[in-house]
């Protein structure tokens, strides 16, 4: 074991792979020293595992109705009780993890690259390109995110795909701002001047030399944003514009439980706990990642 560790921590790595693995190893060690970040990482990992193995973890079918057993309180049979159609809430929460994971992953995949490219192009070329692109970005940034997402869903129509698109539209401007700020600091560095002198095209400089350096601040920001994305998606589901029944989306489940909140509190409360725990997990992880990857902006512990 000691030899592997020495190889990873070698100060003069002999290959690119060794350098990269060494860096990941150092980062993961630093992350492991931060207790809140570890809690966050465990929660996020659990979310992924639960989503992957939902059929084995759920005790019942997420959509199977059992009207004889409707609105039963939590028990040994139904760990989180049952809803108004007799469906097992635990199983629905477990399957809901798939929907939540899908939403955050798709929003990240849609919004992050768009923001990254717009920000990098604006920062690299400067001048009018910068002014126009950042003008558009600032207008989107100046709008409250939830309201923007609501208005776009209103235009596109309810449903989970449209909710994802609307949230992505409301999310990208933040990434464009960060990518631009990073690009501005990288653009004037000597290694960029060196590749430009070698005749590298703008495309090559941006894709090969600028974007890779923006990724660590993007990862931090995306992780920190995950909680907000989950809350917005749940909010859309709650209003009835996000995932549609019978999909076991957590926000929509809370919305259904609203009518029973005074007597059968568990119907609305249980999915809420899932949202809080997962969002909190992403917050902890994002905070920890920021301390590790970006020490200059980190909170002093």
């Amino acid at each position: 074991m000691a030899t592997t560790r020495d190889w990873l921590l070698d100060d003069s790595p002999s290959s690119r792979l060794q350098a990269r693995l060494g860096r990941s190893y150092r980062l993961s060690r630093a992350l492991a020293r931060n207790p809140l970040a570890m809690v966050g990482a465990i929660i996020v990992l659990t979310l992924i595992l639960v989503a992957l193995f939902a059929p084995w973890i759920a005790t019942h079918s997420p959509i199977g109705q059992d009207l004889a057993n409707r609105l039963k309180p939590p028990s040994a049979e139904n760990w989180m009780g049952t809803d108004e159609l007799g469906r097992d809430i635990w199983s629905r929460v477990v399957y809901g993890a798939r929907i939540t994971l899908m939403i955050v992953a798709l929003v990240a995949v849609l919004a992050a690259p768009v923001g990254l490219v717009i920000g990098a192009v604006a920062g690299y070329f400067g001048g009018w390109t910068d002014r126009i692109l950042m003008g558009i970005t600032d207008i989107f940034l100046s709008m409250p995110k939830l309201i923007l997402a609501l208005a776009f869903v209103a235009a596109l129509g309810p449903g989970i795909q449209n909710a994802i698109i609307a949230i992505a539209i409301a999310t990208w401007p933040g990434y464009a701002r960060i990518a631009r700020a990073e690009t501005l600091t990288i653009r004037n560095s000597e290694f960029v001047a060196a590749v430009e002198l070698q005749g590298a095209s703008s495309l090559r400089v941006i894709v090969n030399h600028i974007l890779p350096l923006c990724t660590s601040s993007m990862i931090i920001r995306v992780t920190l944003d995950m909680a907000g994305i989950i809350l917005t998606a749940a909010g859309l589901g709650f209003i009835g514009l996000g995932a549609q029944p019978p999909l076991p989306e957590w926000g929509a489940m809370i919305s259904r439980g609203r009518s029973f909140i005074l007597d059968q509190w568990w119907v609305a409360t249980m999915p809420g706990f899932a949202i809080v725990i997962v969002s909190l997990g992403f917050c902890f992880l994002g905070d920890g990642l920021r301390d590790v990857l970006d020490p200059k902006h980190g909170d002093r512990q």
């Binding site: 600032d138 005074l262 002093r300």
Partner: protein, 362 residues
Amino acid sequence: MASEIDSAAQALPTGPGGSSRNARHAWKTLKSVLGVLVAVAFTFLGLLAITFFIGRVVPIDPVLAVVGDRAPRAVYEAARIEMGLDKPLIVQFFHYVGNVLTGDLGISVSTGKPVAEDLARVFPATLEMATLGIIIGVLLGVPMGVYAASRQGSLVDQVIRVVGLLGYSVPAFWLGLVGLALFYAKLQWVGGPGRLDIFYDGMVDPVTGLILIDSLIAGETDIFFNALSHIALPAAVLGFFSLAYIARMTRSFMLDQLAQEYVTTARVKGVSERLVLWRHAFRPILVPLITVIGLSYAGLLEGSVMIETVFSWPGIGNYLTTALLNADMNAVLGSTLVIGAVFIGINKISDVLYRVLDPRAR
């Protein structure tokens, strides 16, 4: 955008009449205010462009919504021309901007009244709730942040940090529901949904539209306390979110100040810890705190959309969600516009206040 224009203004040689310092300063201030105004105008134009664009994306044909789907071709075409939909998009856009500037937001399909009138009626309810929320947030959040910073790393500090993060991870609508189940249904400490008990409804004349103030003007203490019992829970839920944010920011500002040398000097001189905290360290963070409070106040407008749905609170958020579910586009776009405009307005005001109050930012 504002900061770019402003820094450009500062880079210019100082304007005419630069002989006296005061005149130069007034000129600079004027330029920076003008810069902010231009930036605000552009942002509003952008906001209008977004709502206009959303209005065009909608799969509902606005002409069909007016004439119905059985109208003959000629009637349809006539209505289309009358609504100006045959003109180029850019002309339509300026027409739209003109309409909005004259306060014409169209007619709501569900209420049958002009959207502007509806919004004027519902806005005070939201304002009342958000204002009470921000008061709760400031009164609790600032002392919590200062205390956490003064006991950095202690258990209390950790708890306040987690509370701060909970503000980012608890769904507002869920917290409202849990609050209703606990404090209304179980403990009966607060009034239920709505602004008043049903038998008090319409008993006070709306002067300001804020029931808490109107009932005091009318001298109806019963109604005042009833309204208070209804607003307490939704305002407390909103207050929690602003508290979380304000405490987090206050803590971080205070830690910055406490690490400064002048604080160490004050401590070495034997100034009491309380004076060090509140006089030496807290004073300089007042200005950035105002910005944070402004941002938080604007954020509460957004939060109220969810909260109002839960508490059947007859404000702008409830109006917006009802309109969304009825596909009442004029009402949706009108509310989006008003919420966006207030949001931008509050942000810019706190931005300007920051510049005016902080000598370094001038």
